[in-house]
């Protein structure tokens, strides 16, 4: 039996198997194969409608859309010109901070976002749209590279890489885990013909947004942030997950209208990154007043990057204000006081924490350590250790905070204190 006959015979079974594996039943009826010349004509036409020029590499081409937006234009909280303020503010700010633009100019920052044919990270998913923006004194220079078909990737990456010599200061939303690995994967396929990938450095705004707002947002997505934090609104947006299917349709029938929405979506994403970077910088640097939750998270972040001098004033303000975070802030301040040798202050802060009724086991233990080693008050230390153990016992089987290792360590401490007390008595 010939293969054609067999395929016919098994068509139903094969088709069912394909259906079972497919995630979407999108179907296009205008699926005619387009010969190269016609295809080029159609793509040229689409390019005109998308306000893009064709750039050629041998017989391949890429659609490039460029525009310059005035610095004064404003869609959310700030005009784009605020980026100069943000970058200027970082020059005096904490340079160890992951978002710090210390030593950089505003024009060094390259705001970057891509659209792909699927979410998985394997070799078969392509990037079909790259959007880039840079803020210069003349305005926001925005550029989009659109792949008119899978056979044009060399032209696509050639144009993108020639135009952007440095990728050291990319600003992305989840770019480290998402966009950049995909760029690397696809670059493998064309690496012989296009410039090498330059070194990549980046500011990932997803990471920052998650720190500040994960408690108030059920999902920390760019659009959610736009709506709730940046007070921006999009009128008619193409949902990101629809992008692959619209693109697949475009490939079969290159109508600009199919992908116009995707380009607009990508354009807005890139512009939002500018505003988001400004907003995050201002919050972190205290130029926009953070609320207590933001303050606490910013302070914790400073604490983690060992910028205590930035963290401490924030914790102090939180401790004084009697806010939701004052107890936690006091615990941090107690640690700082202990490190400086201010044991009295450290102990009194910890006692405040304990009196508040929301102390956890480590607060008790910190207090116990101070009492045992600095104040030689073993009796009080023993009491606090017992309370830490009681908390642990209470959590056992109920809470993730329970830890056998900790419990054992606390018991050991208890035994030691017991022995000390006994010896003293004798």
């Amino acid at each position: 039996m010939s293969l054609k006959q067999k395929l016919q015979l098994y068509k139903k079974q094969l088709h069912e198997a394909q259906q079972a594996e497919r995630s979407t039943p999108e179907k296009n009826d205008g699926s005619e194969s387009v010969v190269a010349a016609e295809e080029r004509l159609a793509v040229c036409h689409a390019a005109r409608e998308l306000d893009a020029t064709l750039r050629q590499w041998k017989d391949q081409y890429v659609l490039v859309h460029s525009e310059t937006l005035p610095l004064t234009s404003q869609t959310g909280l700030y005009p784009f010109s605020e980026l100069f303020e943000a970058v200027a503010a970082w020059q005096q700010g904490p340079d160890a901070h992951p978002l710090s633009a210390h030593g950089l100019k505003a024009t060094d920052l390259l705001f970057f976002d891509t659209e792909t044919t699927g979410l998985s990270s394997g070799a078969g998913q392509m990037i079909f749209l790259i959007g880039l923006a840079r803020v210069t004194s003349g305005g926001v220079e925005l550029r989009q590279y659109f792949l008119p078909g899978p056979g044009h990737e060399t032209a696509f990456y050639d144009a993108f890489l020639r135009d952007t010599q440095s990728l050291k200061n990319l600003v992305t939303f989840n770019g480290k885990a998402y966009d950049w690995p995909r760029v690397k994967t696809r670059h493998q396929f064309v690496r012989e013909h296009v410039p090498r990938l330059p070194q990549f450095g980046h500011f990932d705004l997803l990471h920052a947004a998650r720190r500040l707002w994960k408690r108030r947002l059920d999902s920390v997505g760019l659009q959610k942030i736009e709506q709730t934090i940046l007070k921006m609104g999009r009128s008619e947006d193409v949902p990101g997950k629809m992008a692959p299917f619209l693109y697949f349709q475009f490939l079969k029938n290159p109508q600009a209208s199919l992908v116009k929405g995707i380009l607009e979506h990508n354009r807005e994403d890139v512009l939002t990154l500018i505003i988001l970077y400004c907003h995050l910088s201002f919050k972190i640097l205290g130029l926009a007043t953070p609320d207590t939750e933001e303050s606490f998270e910013i302070a914790r972040w400073f604490d983690q990057i060992k910028a205590k001098n930035y963290a401490q004033p924030l914790f102090e303000r939180l401790a004084a204000a009697g806010s939701d975070y004052s107890v936690e802030a006091k615990a941090y301040l107690a640690r700082y006081a202990k490190q400086k040798g201010n044991f009295d202050q450290a102990l009194s802060l910890l006692r405040e924490v304990i009196r508040s009724g929301s102390a956890n086991d480590s607060h008790y233990i910190q207090a116990a350590k101070l009492l045992e080693h600095q104040f030689k008050n073993n009796r009080q230390a023993l009491l606090y250790t017992q309370q830490a153990i009681a908390l642990m016992n209470h959590w056992q089987g109920k809470s993730e905070r329970f830890s056998t290792a900790k419990l054992n360590a606390y018991r050991e401490r208890l035994n030691r204190l017991d022995t000390k007390l006994l010896n003293n008595r004798n």
Binding site: A20, E21, R22, G122, M126
Partner: protein
Amino acid sequence: MEARQSMDDLINKLKQDPNLANWQTLPGKEAQLVPYPEQMDQRLQAALRKRGITSLYSHQAKAFQTAMSGNDLVLVTPTASGKTLCYNLPVLQSILDDPSSRALYFFPTKALAQDQKSEMTELIGDIGVAIKSDTYDGDTAGNIRQKIRAAGQIIMTNPDMLHSSILPHHTKWVSLFENLKFVVIDELHVYKGVFGSHVANVIRRLKRICAYYGSSPQFICTSATIANPQSHAEQLTGRKMILLDQNGAPAVCKHFAFYNPPVVNKQLNLRADELPVVTDLAGRFIRNGIQTIVFARSRLKVELLVSHLQKINSGLNERAKICAYRGGYLPTERRRIEKGLRSGEVIGVVSTNALELGVDIGQLQVCIMAGYPGNMASVWQQAGRAGRRAQDALIILVASANPLDQYMAAHPDYFFSGNPEDIRINPNNLMIMMDHIKCSAYELPFKKGDLFGQEPVDDFCTFLQDEDVLHEQRGQWYWMNDAFPANEISLRSAVQDSFAIIDITDRGHARVIGEMDRFGAMTMLYEDAIYIHQGLQFHVDELDLKERKAYIRKVNVNYYTDSDLAVQLDVLEEDQTKPLPGSAQADTGYGDVMVRALPTVFKKIRFETYENIGWGRIHLPEIEMHTNAAWISFPKTLIDHFGKDVFQNALIGFSHVLRHAAPLFVLTDPADLSVVAKIKAPHNQLPTIFIYDKYPGGIGLSQKLFETMPELLRRAEDIIASCSCDAGCPSCIGFVQEGRKAKKALTEMFLQL
């Protein structure tokens, strides 16, 4: 306390046993040693010397030379013959020559890869050159994966990992694919049937990617004894292979005993269960301090045997232990048992067939098989576990009531004549190939006119284009879909839509205890069926067709259920037909068939008496499957000659025998093959028995059976003739109505065939 008996005493006693069906002594053989090949790197030679290896077995040297002169090769090696050096030496040599060289090993299981890694690490340690060798599988930590991808020189993995992780992410493995010199495929015989057909396609994908990065690795394969190692390796890898089957390892003298448990029910020709017999035999050796390994066919049997043997052993020697040793154990647990065996702390091991694979548990004096393992390759692998140094080895095969076991017990000449089975795969199975063309297109676009293996891809790609999976542009097909195809394709499950079997006995602690293909589910897991899993009875509460789940509950009843399946079998195309040689009576054929099965009713049958104690309806839709079948047709005149009822039952009995005889010729999982008898086949109106592959598109089993039909029939005849029952029993034609007449009719039919 009775005095300890020596191995000789025990052997002599066994020889007197009335249930002994046969005794064979296979002489031992000296090692054939040769010096290190001259071109072998001095550092490698020094490392071997350090390990006490001062010369090589002849096959190791031959393998080294064959590989170093650029050939692809397949080695057939028995257990414990130093096979790892056969591929490790050329691989290490090539890396010592050029450190940028890479090698990819794949093993059927993670456990085997782990074992090999530690062996390799020791050898590399003795060479004293930093060669990076590592396993890459589901257990590999994320932070070292990147390091392995960039710098690993020897990567040990499994085909599933290659399929779903390495190949679809080949751009992260550039240095491996650019410099790949060797692909080592160990345990070649495991890649059979559906699994093997999938793996052959994974290798096609691997070769495409290598070609893309400009490498063309050599393949080194090793296999247990099978009938067609060379053609199997060639089909799996798509390369011409050099076969090395002369083994230079030494072998000890082996005593091979066939033990047939006595008939306990003359009427039904039922034999004593093999487990108590095995327990008794193993106990004789273990009690006398003789290390023994027992192979059983299921995990449940392993557990039962261990607990029986531990009882026997208790109090006799506190220190010597009996261990179970089966798949799923962690490497550390296995190391502990291996160490115990070497030190004598462990005196008995009970293992499943799974561990006949190349895991090194050392060698023992006695090997007992609880039942014929199903194929000769397994027999010799298991037997290879017995035979320590200069001492004689004893292997005892305890036959079960299964027709094959009884056949072997009655025909030791056949058993010892060395007739290993063929391994069949069908890499061009349409369903399987389509799956992998998808995966391959995801990895690299196809050009018009490209070949996948030897097959042109154009028709496949056009089909996938119509399905909106690929997009064609300028003569190339590109993946244009948001899915990740490898995730949806499993190399191991027989059919994509398999059913989960969920035990809900313990409410709140439901657990999946197995899976079954759709066909099996509809014939064994219908509602109110009694499903037997590892010897335990379960009642099927619900079969959820949409969610593909069967909910079962543990019960203890005195009956089993048997479904009546209305099987329609239409021959779509007769590829070959020929009269059965030497017979004017029967015709044989092979071709494409459509199987339609409709479960109708089920019967409840009491265990001891086989009486029908009730029935129920099955409410399930019809199942459809296109596949390949071999068939044999008989003249209509036989119907009148024997009477319709008798003849029909004779055909059913015939099917039973054929089903059990087929594994003599092809290495197959029981689930892969089905036999159905029709008194009037739709395509030729003749009484016909069909043997078909139970996988859409076929996997080559029935094709092989068509080719060997005369021999298959001869074995079937032998099975019936050598069975002493009158009216059919599990060891021959099974229980059919009018069994006495049916059996007689069959005997008469065979005389005329």
